[in-house]
């Protein structure tokens, strides 16, 4: 039926089906600022204004909207300069989001801005709490809402005429960024104020940075202006004629063999272009883990198999003209299953009768043993652990557990594939690892690698979930079969049942401690559940030990000779396969280690901070695991060159007011609330920065006529801001403002190789490559500047080594200069012509760890077990901070994800392997209106292995929130948790058990 739709004051005559959502109709009309994050109204990425009210377009019918005014982000503002046409520019809200660093991946940004626009129309002077309520319908998984809330408050002030547009960070703010950190506790805030209204984190600055112009500055993100307009930057925002919709028939059973499958009726359905089963495609075993060659894990997966191993596993693939026909085709596929015994509990996995991988093609890696359901095994002994236990005065043994949890990036996995005019397969995909996608899929598709081009457009969050070659093969097989473009997009339900969540683990800790608190030996046994397939099984779990067990080496003689044992079994179960999730095994490890350390400190009546610091790894000591393990490769001993942990503890302790709260009589009580108790907790953390001798990143820089540069990187910005910080490093070397760097990432045809965005490596590895390439270009610039100046002959002869690059100029010591534009034009058009261009690559011999002190303050209701996390403070040594706004956003967003891990997120399977949480309503990620106050402090150290002294920042914020919260709960009321999330019932039970013991 044809209806008239009024969008952004324009009339659209469109044909719509009765049940067609407004989201679908708007995107079909080219309004790509309306994003699809779910189709059940839970995430708000599709927010539009209907008659000036924010509405989730995914659950609003197009027909409902007939006769109403619809406003999308496209109406809000645009780039101010469009050639000869000048526009009014961006809306103050958009300007504030850009200026305030409120955009990370940008997928939720249009929805958030429209929700805010509605709020400010109704309430020009909202409180912070009202802002949070106003955007509560738009979920953000990246920012922790801190900067979006600040941006909206600032925009409100602008619209009231009380502030200037875009000036969220003033020169005074930047000066304040670098002042001394507070020695006294932070001021308590009112109930309404959940964040301090301050864009910049505090940075204790390293002296090496003082002369830098771009590195260390809160530069605006290079991609912010496009994202704030909702431009079609993401994988699904792409139009191509004749595109088919792909759907997957998923297994209803946890473990079964496909005895018979009949797709004849589905194939005959009009509008169906292809139906594929395991009988139709080559049987190629591979690993879906997006890692470097050779894959450090078993090869146990097929695009389609004659066996299903979890509820949600693939059975058949369909491509059709539209999603309705594809759905109908799925229903016409007849499958006869032979149900097999299934295995859901990892503790029963080894040698269970339910054997997941009995296929002859299975390829072992290291100690994997499919005949025992064992995907990987680790046994690492450092020092003499048994002797260490003998030397101890006390032995502490406890068991801890962590659940499976979902990344919940707001942009689902999505891929488009098509044959280009040269019969090369183009894969446009939301991936963190475009080069691994190309390499891994080539044999699966039986295409030479050179006939595949992978394009990584803008990514709407990944958090490790897109470090998996998860869906690209589906679309690719169907494009090969049908000869047409295909789009395949996970639904939110598929994200839960069939993506690659965090490994759940059961962890046993055993620690020997002397009377004075010296740790003599530390042992961890880890039973990790890799689910139905073993991608990342070895490496995730290896990091559980290699990072979390490395931080406490002991004191005195044990500093040089620590005794550490780490043993892990990583087993298969008939559940959703586990994979990479920000933190990559380390949050699981720190949950156990830091809960264990808290118990030891309390049982020995030691100060929890002093006990930790007495035994913690220090500068100049060996990373103990570097002598024994390196992600399945040969280890090389590595000395810790920089460690700001002590200062992190000092600063974090002051910021949260530890000394005014911990152990202070009366502080735990809440006036007028007899059932509430306050508590405070700490956890330390360390992580890694890339994988030494393996992770490789490369960059190329090309100069243009006007003195601008194309920076091309294979690194993949998921919203982290890596494109921006890489450009900042290049700008520093080349002496140009950030706007002169045009960043492109990434495309396997055009950008140099990069292993991808994982292992907290981009700023460090790819950054070093960028600096290397920039330095090569800089050398050509100074050479050519000298050439030009000497040709001019208006002064003494100049040597290139005497020329400095800054402010778009190449300047001699006596003040003569050539602009970079002159150099660009000279090089391309005038003399000794050349394309100034350079490429460089980098592999690191070390993986310098960032360190952090995480503090949490909570309030527990001792009658119900309900916990409210009031405040999180994280003080981080991540080396030099290239951009304090983007780095601060990483910490805020990471802490927020970790907060969910601490108190609410988990994935529970019934005994048939059916997942309880299959939508965001049941799973629940934090909304803007329920966030604690958060504070970030950076304690800079200068890591000597990097030209700008950086270490990693992306993953460490996920490591220590859960134990800090649990330790605070223990401090509040004595509830002693072994398991997260800290649900009300778990706290309540613990309180009851301790009451019964007394």
């Amino acid at each position: 039926m044809s209806i008239n739709l009024n969008v952004n004051s324009k009339s659209h005559e469109i044909d719509v089906a009765p049940g067609e959502s407004l989201l679908k109709a708007l995107r079909a009309e080219g309004y790509y600022g309306v994003k699809q994050g779910c189709d059940t109204g839970e995430c708000g990425a599709c927010t539009v204004l209907v008659d000036n009210r924010p509405v989730n377009a995914c659950v609003y019918l197009t027909r409902q909207a007939e006769g109403k005014e619809i406003e999308t982000i496209e109406a809000s503002g645009e780039h101010p300069e469009q050639g000869w046409k000048l526009t009014e520019g961006l809306h103050p809200l958009q300007q504030a989001f850009v200026a305030g660093g409120a955009i990370q991946c940008g997928f939720c940004t249009p929805g958030m801005i429209l929700a805010a626009k509605d709020l400010l129309t109704r309430n020009p002077n909202p409180s912070e709490a009202e802002v949070r309520e106003g955007i509560s319908g738009v979920l953000c998984r990246c920012t922790g809402y801190v900067k979006p809330v600040q941006a909206i408050l600032h925009a409100a002030a602008v619209l009231r005429g009380e502030a200037e547009p875009g000036e969220m960070i003033t020169p005074d703010d930047i000066d304040a960024l670098f002042i001394s950190l507070p020695e006294s506790p932070a001021q308590e805030t009112s109930e309404e104020t959940q964040t301090s209204v301050q864009v910049l984190p505090k940075v204790l600055i390293a002296p090496q940075t003082k002369n830098w112009k771009h590195v260390g500055q809160p530069e605006q993100k290079v991609d912010a202006v496009k994202l704030v307009q909702g431009k079609p930057a993401f994988a699904a925002d792409f139009e191509i004629r004749g595109m088919l919709i792909a759907k997957v028939l998923k297994s209803p059973l946890a473990h079964a063999r496909i005895k018979h499958i009949d797709v004849s009726e589905a194939r005959e359905l009009p509008g169906v272009a292809a139906v594929l089963t395991h009988k139709d495609i080559p049987r190629v075993v591979y690993s879906t883990a997006g890692q470097s060659h050779p894959i450090p894990g078993p090869l146990d997966s097929f695009s389609l198999d004659n066996k299903v191993r979890f509820v949600g596993d693939r059975v058949a693939l369909v491509a059709a003209e539209n999603s309705e026909i594809a759905d109908q085709a799925l229903k016409l596929i007849k499958v006869e299953y032979e149900e097999l015994p299934s295995l859901v509990d990892s503790r029963l996995a080894l040698d269970n009768e339910a054997l997941l991988h009995d296929q002859p093609e299975y390829v072992d890696f290291a100690e994997s043993d499919a005949s025992r359901n064992l995907a990987a095994r680790l046994h690492i002994d450092i020092g003499d652990v048994d002797q260490g236990f003998e030397a101890a005065d006390h032995i502490f043994e406890h068991e801890y557990s962590v659940p499976k949890v979902q990344q919940a990036a707001i942009e689902p996995h999505v891929v488009i594939t098509y044959w280009d005019e040269d019969d090369r397969l183009v894969i446009r995909t939301s991936t963190q690892v475009p080069f691994h996608v190309r390499r891994i899929l080539a044999p699966v598709l039986q295409l030479p690698l050179k006939r595949i081009r992978v394009v990584k457009p803008r990514i709407g969050g990944g958090f490790g979930g897109k470090q998996e070659v998860l869906i690209e093969d589906v679309a690719a097989h169907l494009t090969i079969a049908a000869g047409r473009p295909v789009i395949f997009e996970f639904t939110r339900q598929e994200e839960f049942v069939a993506a690659r969540p965090r490994h759940p683990m059961h962890i046993k800790m055993k620690t020997g401690v002397k009377e004075d608190g010296t740790i003599t030996a530390n042992e961890m046994y880890c039973l990790a559940d890799t689910g139905a397939y073993g991608s990342h099984a070895l490496t995730v779990t290896g990091n559980t030990g290699a990072k979390a067990m490395a931080i406490y080496v002991g004191d005195g003689e044990y500093r040089q000779n620590p005794n550490i044992r780490f043993v892990a079994d990583i087993v298969y179960t008939n559940t959703t396969p586990s994979g990479a999730f920000r933190g990559y095994g380390v949050p699981q490890g720190f949950w156990a280690v830091e809960r264990h350390m808290e118990r030891i400190a309390r049982e020995l009546e030691l100060d929890p901070i002093e006990f930790r610091m007495k035994n913690a790894l220090r500068e100049g000591e060996l990373q103990p695991f570097s002598t024994a393990w390196s992600e399945g490769r040969e280890p090389v001993p590595e000395t810790i060159e920089t460690n700001g942990l002590e200062e992190c503890v000092r600063q974090g302790r002051a910021a949260i007011g530890w000394d005014q709260k911990f152990g202070i009589e009366g502080w735990h009580q809440v006036s007028g609330k007899p059932t509430l108790r306050k508590g405070i907790g700490i956890s330390l953390a360390m992580h890694g920065t890339a994988i030494p001798y393996l992770d490789m990143g490369a960059a190329s820089i090309k100069m243009n006529d006007d003195g601008s540069f194309n920076l091309m990187v294979g690194a993949t910005d998921l919203g982290t801001g890596s494109d921006t910080v890489l450009a900042q490093m290049a700008a520093e070397v080349l002496g140009v403002p950030l706007e002169d760097l045009i960043v492109y990432s990434s495309d396997t045809d055009f950008t140099p190789f990069d292993k991808g965005a994982y292992a907290s490596s981009t700023t460090y590895i790819s950054g070093a490559a960028v600096v290397g390439a920039a330095q090569k270009v800089a050398d050509r610039l100074t050479y050519r500047a000298a050439l030009i100046l000497n040709e001019r002959g208006d002064g003494p002869e100049v040597n290139p080594s005497e020329i400095r690059l800054a402010d778009r100029r190449a300047t001699t010591q006596d003040g003569r200069f050539v602009t970079l534009e002159e150099i660009g034009q000279h090089a391309l058009h005038q003399g000794e012509q050349e394309q100034i261009m350079a490429v460089d690559s980098y592999v690191s011999p070390v993986a310098p760890p960032p360190f952090a002190a995480q503090f949490a303050e909570v309030t527990v209701d001792i009658e119900t077990g309900q916990v409210v996390v009031d405040k999180l403070v994280m003080a981080v040594d991540a080396g030099i901070i290239i951009n304090p706004v983007t780095a601060g956003g990483q910490i805020e967003g990471g802490m927020t994800q970790a907060l969910g891990y601490a108190v609410c997120e988990e994935m529970i399977y019934d005994d048939k392997g059916v997942l309880r949480e299959q939508n965001l309503r049941d799973y629940h990620i934090f909304q803007a209106n329920e966030m604690p106050q958060m504070e970030t402090i950076f304690v800079e150290t200068f890591e000597p292995s990097h030209p700008f002294g950086v270490k990693a920042v992306a993953e460490i914020p996920t490591d220590a929130v859960a134990p800090a919260v649990a330790n605070a709960i223990m401090d509040a009321c004595g509830a002693d948790l072994n398991v997260i999330p800290a649900t009300p019932e778990r706290i309540w039970k613990s309180l009851k058990e301790s009451a019964e013991l007394k």
Partner: protein, 253 residues
């Protein structure tokens, strides 16, 4: 899957459409639940032109049109604070703009904060055709029997009462694991409703006074165990929350 969309201009037209059984025809308020993907093939009747989004105070009663949105109700300054809290807990700001009060009541399960409060308020409903009056409690467990072919047009709640609502959840905006809503009339009549479990909130007590509420709560949630919480926990915490609601009611002016 929605096969047909209708937007009638009169109640009679709407009722005629809803009277059809083939295809199954359902009233659509905001559609925030109905419009989500489903395998069920239905026709929908959009109520937006029927003038049912009204709110009128008549004496001690607040008459609510079935198509009034949750936000429309929330914007009314006269509703009890506890009902405002429950509405905010029920749905995010975006969803409140389209979700209607009738639609919310009709599709709610035991975890609905709003339905728990409306049940505690002993909300009275009018179903057409026939202008049948019934209490929300009579409808909730009879939805599959009572609703086909019918349209809930009006909801009436008392305003001369004290309402309190409290809950426990994994986080403050999460669905309740246990919640309690308590209403007390000037006469002393007291209704205690428990939520967080099952297909609908449970009326634990409706008595001339609050006497016996502990036993009533115990009986109501003594077996209320599921994947989200044990019966032991729900039973004990529902008593805690009910007690708090009663204490709170005592201090509401």
């Amino acid at each position: 899957m929605i096969l047909e969309y209708h937007r009638p201009d009169t109640l009679e037209q709407a009722l005629a459409l809803l009277a059809r059984s083939n295809p199954t025809t359902l009233p659509m308020g905001g559609g925030s639940v109905l419009n989500a993907p489903s395998d069920e093939e239905v026709a929908v009747v959009d109520l937006q032109n029927l003038g049912l989004n009204v709110l009128k105070l008549k004496g001690n009663k607040l008459n609510l049109g079935a198509a009034l949105t949750l936000q429309g109700l929330l914007d009314n300054p006269d509703i009890p604070d506890a009902l405002s809290k429950a509405i905010r807990h029920e749905a995010t700001h975006n969803l409140r703009q389209v979700a209607t009060i009738a639609g919310t009541l009709v599709v709610s399960d035991g975890r609905s904060a709003f339905t728990s409060c409306m049940l505690a308020l002993d909300a009275q409903l009018i179903l057409e055709p026939g202008a049948e009056e019934l209490g929300l409690g009579d409808l909730l467990h009879m939805r599959t029997e009572k609703l086909p072919g019918r349209l809930l047009t009006q909801i009436v709640i008392p305003m001369n009462v004290k309402l309190s609502y409290d809950y426990v959840a994994r986080s403050s905006a999460d669905l309740p694991i246990v919640c309690a809503a308590v209403t007390q009339w000037p006469s002393g009549r007291t209704r205690v409703v428990l939520g967080g479990y099952g297909s609908a909130p449970t009326l634990a007590l409706d008595g001339p006074q609050a006497d016996g509420w502990q036993e009533a709560v115990q009986n109501a949630y003594g077996q209320a165990g599921d994947d989200w919480a044990s019966a032991e926990y729900r039973s004990e915490i529902s008593a805690v929350l009910s007690a708090r609601c009663l204490e709170n009611i005592a201090i509401i002016k």
